[in-house]
């Protein structure tokens, strides 16, 4: 058992005598030296009065009070908190990677080549006919994909008639939100007893008003939708499209392709599948792929190659632009670097390890996992214990806890995804944390966390009376 105590620092106010190194340069610039109008200048700014080493130590301490994937395992189910290889940062940090978005295509041929190759890689990985790299996040990709589906139905003069999108109850919350953002009514599909799409309920729900079914496969319980071909037939026979939520593609990478299963439109979460940093507000990337016949609706521009020259092309019935330029270039560059470095065999190994790690961890913990066989993630039940309290107690054991209380089909759900990047030793450490909490008494769990920098949070007061900036702390 690994002992754990998170760093906590209480900083006292500096005496402020030592100026920042930059301030030792006493050259002065008066506001009158500048061309700024008077109403845009001021005499002073309110800054904390501390020396440079104090400032560095402040931020170093803050980093020690944090927990991230570079500190330890982070099995947040559905989120795929993968380790981000540092070599991709190196590549993105190369001076040659600094390309202005408005550079003339003739002078940005290398950049366009990377875009074009990535479009091609993703098309092949997804079994899609064409890919756009423009959407700036997974959820933005979902919205773009649904807008493409909408453009398709409008093109067929069925835009007004097809006003519903079907979403399984256990789907990611973004599916409901993306469909609603695109102006659709949502029809929620119940799961069957083994946690998959209920075919009878689906047959009953589809019809002339169905625009699309949004599905993730494996689903949020980690279960493969084994009736996927029949699902595709039911949706297509009704005139609807099948949308693939790529959040769980890391389970299938190099082994099965959404396009081959009958999906018409899909998005890629490059931060989950290809180890780019998680956005936390951006910049991110959420490319989408479409099957043959839907390319003409994609956002503009697309990168094409003509001989050995890369050009920007506007698809014939494009839905327009969904982001500036071609999307977030450096995130896409990291995606390209990751895929290139792993190659075909590396990508196949990724999905094997993702599934193996989840199954090994589930085997090692003393909690019930009601649904299976699962792939890259599993949903354990905390049983009689509140899942949020269980998670807090896991913090005391030095690991990040799983996603809690979702999907709701499992009581007190602990949705766990160790990812392929964790070693056997790190999986054992996670299992030990799960099992220590399983054996802990109720009082200890109710008092957790005790070993973290911030102790148990008063959630109710935090939600009713949030203090969202440092200025409010002194109120």
């Amino acid at each position: 058992m690994q002992r754990h105590r998170q760093a906590k620092w209480d900083e006292t106010e500096s005496d402020g005598h030592e100026p920042l190194l930059a301030e030792k340069d006493l050259t002065r610039h008066e506001p009158s030296d500048t061309y700024l109008p008077d109403d845009l200048t001021r005499d002073g700014v309110e800054l904390p009065s501390i020396s440079e080493p104090e400032l560095v130590r402040h931020y170093t301490r803050l980093s020690q009070m944090n927990y991230g994937i570079d500190s330890g395992p982070y099995p947040l189910g559905s989120c795929t908190m993968k380790y981000n290889p540092k070599f991709t940062e190196d590549i993105a940090g190369q001076p040659a990677a600094a390309v202005h978005p408005d550079r003339d295509p003739e002078l940005a041929q290398g950049t366009l080549q990377v875009y074009h190759e990535l479009q091609d890689y993703l098309s092949r990985i997804g079994g899609m006919s064409a890919v756009t790299l423009q959407p700036p996040a997974g959820a933005a990709g979902e919205l773009t994909g649904i807008l493409v589906a909408k453009a398709y139905h409008e093109h067929n003069d069925e835009g007004d008639q097809r006003e519903e999108i079907l979403v399984p109850a256990s789907a990611h919350g973004t599916n409901f939100a993306s469909a609603a953002m695109a102006g659709y009514d949502i029809v929620e599909l119940p799961a069957d007893d083994d946690g998959r799409v209920d075919l009878d309920a689906l047959s009953e729900a589809v019809g002339d008003s169905t625009a699309a079914l949004m599905l993730t496969n494996p689903n949020t319980l980690g279960l493969f939708e084994r009736d996927i071909e029949e699902i595709a037939t039911i949706v297509h026979d009704a005139g609807g499209l099948l949308y693939y939520d790529g959040a769980n593609l890391n389970a299938l990478l190099g082994r099965a392709r959404p396009g081959d299963m009958g999906f018409d439109v899909m998005h890629f979460n490059v931060h989950k599948t290809f180890a780019t940093p998680h956005g936390g507000g951006g910049p991110g990337a959420g490319p989408i792929g479409v099957r043959e016949g839907l390319e003409k609706f994609l956002p503009s521009p697309q990168v094409r190659v003509d001989g050995d020259e890369y050009t920007l092309v506007e698809p014939a019935e494009s839905i327009g632009k969904v982001h500036g330029s071609m999307g977030n270039w450096l995130v896409l560059l990291k995606t390209h670097a990751y895929i290139s470095r792993l190659g075909d065999e590396g990508l196949v190994d990724t999905s094997a390890k993702a599934v193996l790690n989840a199954n090994y961890l589930a085997e090692r913990i003393d909690l019930e996992v009601p649904f299976g066989p699962f792939h890259h993630e599993f949903v354990a039940s905390a049983g009689e214990t509140d899942a949020a309290d269980f998670a807090k107690a896991m913090l005391d054991n030095g690991v990040h806890p799983p996603t809690t209380k979702w999907p709701e089909i499992v009581d007190e759900a602990l949705m766990t995804e160790p990812t392929e990047a964790e070693s056997k030793r790190s999986l054992e450490r996670l299992a030990a944390a799960f099992n220590a909490v399983s054996e802990a008494d109720d009082d200890a769990i109710a008092a957790a966390p005790r070993m973290t920098a911030a102790k148990r949070i008063d959630q109710t007061t935090a939600a009713r009376d949030p203090k969202l900036s440092w200025q409010q702390l002194s109120d």
Binding site: Q459, T460, A463
Partner: protein
């Protein structure tokens, strides 16, 4: 644990209550607030909006869950309990009194007959 279910009002299976005499007020039951836990936010319609029986008219959010509020009867909103915006805890502390949510002018005075009586609702939650 048994919860207070006042017999001077009617109920929905989804745990909303409505009074049957003026002013017609709507709120959620003691059982519902206990299931939700600490309520942290309540979203209600504006005065003048119409609400329809069985349709959502607002949202109640607790530290555990976000739940839709369903209208027991149809009508026009005549008052909103604005105290809840700054003190959502009133829903927990006094669900049948200070924790009321909206007042409405009902479209059909006979509509109350379709709702659960206090005894029927009590049976459902026991």
């Amino acid at each position: 644990m048994s919860f207070d279910v006042p017999s001077d009002r009617r109920y929905l299976e989804s745990h909303e209550w409505t009074t049957t005499d003026d002013p017609i007020r709507i709120g959620i039951s003691a059982f519902a607030q206990d299931e939700l836990g600490d309520v942290v936010f309540v979203e209600l319609p504006d005065v003048g909006e119409s609400i329809a029986a069985g349709e959502t008219f607002g949202v109640v959010e607790s530290i555990k869950a976000v739940s839709d509020l369903y209208a027991p009867i149809s009508g026009e909103v005549t008052a909103v309990n604005e105290d809840l915006f700054n003190a959502p805890e009133l829903v927990n502390e006094d669900p049948y009194g200070e924790g009321w949510m909206i007042e409405i002018d009902p479209d059909d005075d006979a509509a109350f007959e379709d709702l659960l009586s206090a005894d029927e609702y009590r049976e459902q939650i026991e």
